[in-house]
Symmetry: C2
């Protein structure tokens, strides 16, 4: 099953950060390629974590954290509603009458967690500003601006 909340949320935040006029859910949805109610779900989750706020008096959102101080991990945690990146599944029914079967799940759970933590650390060290910078570079390389 595709889970594209994280990807869509970064897209929305780049729009919010880069746009000079406040963007509404409808405008964000049009760029992301989804519907406004899906965007409102994401923005509600990001508001709850203090990433964005509704703008007073105008429709649209404002970033509450500068892009260079906004780690992708915070965005991930907000919209995925979990602190953990899950990569590897454990098999369900090892036989606990066998010594290996008895200990395999705690052992692999530890081993997998250590590896997943590396991805979490990398997500902590990458910011929204890094994504925006990469986008600028891509745009320049293509000579589109």
């Amino acid at each position: 099953m595709m889970d594209t909340r994280f990807s869509a949320a970064i897209h929305a935040l780049i729009l919010i950060a880069a746009s000079e006029t406040p963007m509404t859910s409808e405008q964000i949805a049009e760029s992301v390629g989804t519907n406004a109610s899906y965007i409102r779900k994401l923005t509600r989750l990001m508001k709850r974590q203090g990433i964005i706020a509704s703008r007073r008096g105008v429709s649209g959102f404002a970033l509450l954290i500068p892009p260079e101080k906004l780690p992708l991990r915070k965005i991930y945690e907000a919209v995925e509603e979990t602190e953990r990146i899950h990569v590897f599944d454990l098999h369900q029914n090892p036989n606990d009458r066998c010594i290996v079967g008895r200990y395999i799940r705690p052992v692999l759970s530890d081993v997998f967690r250590e590896i997943e933590e590396k991805a979490e650390q990398a997500l902590t060290h990458t910011t929204l500003a890094d994504c925006m910078q990469k986008m600028k570079t891509e745009i320049k390389q293509e000579g589109k601006l």
Copy 2:
């Protein structure tokens, strides 16, 4: 969808590495908690990558690479049949009439790939022997041996 091939394959390899007598697919399946044909699928994939071999004259398998020289990544690649760990999905339909929509997929594809590579590196630096060592430690702590 649960994908537990990798987890089941490590379980099978620990049995093969630790057992003094050759283990058949049926015996491995009993400990892993699955059926022998599933185990034969995994062992076929691991044979193809030179991780194990069938033993001459006896039924059962032998490890071709010592556990301390067998990175989990090699096991992952063999049984998942991919060189890449996939963690994050990209949203499918960004609007390319918007400049952000046009560049978001290549940008996030790069950003996500860098993070996934950290997990791949960690998987390269963890060996089957590390898992076996951790199992020994768990067993000792529980005072079961």
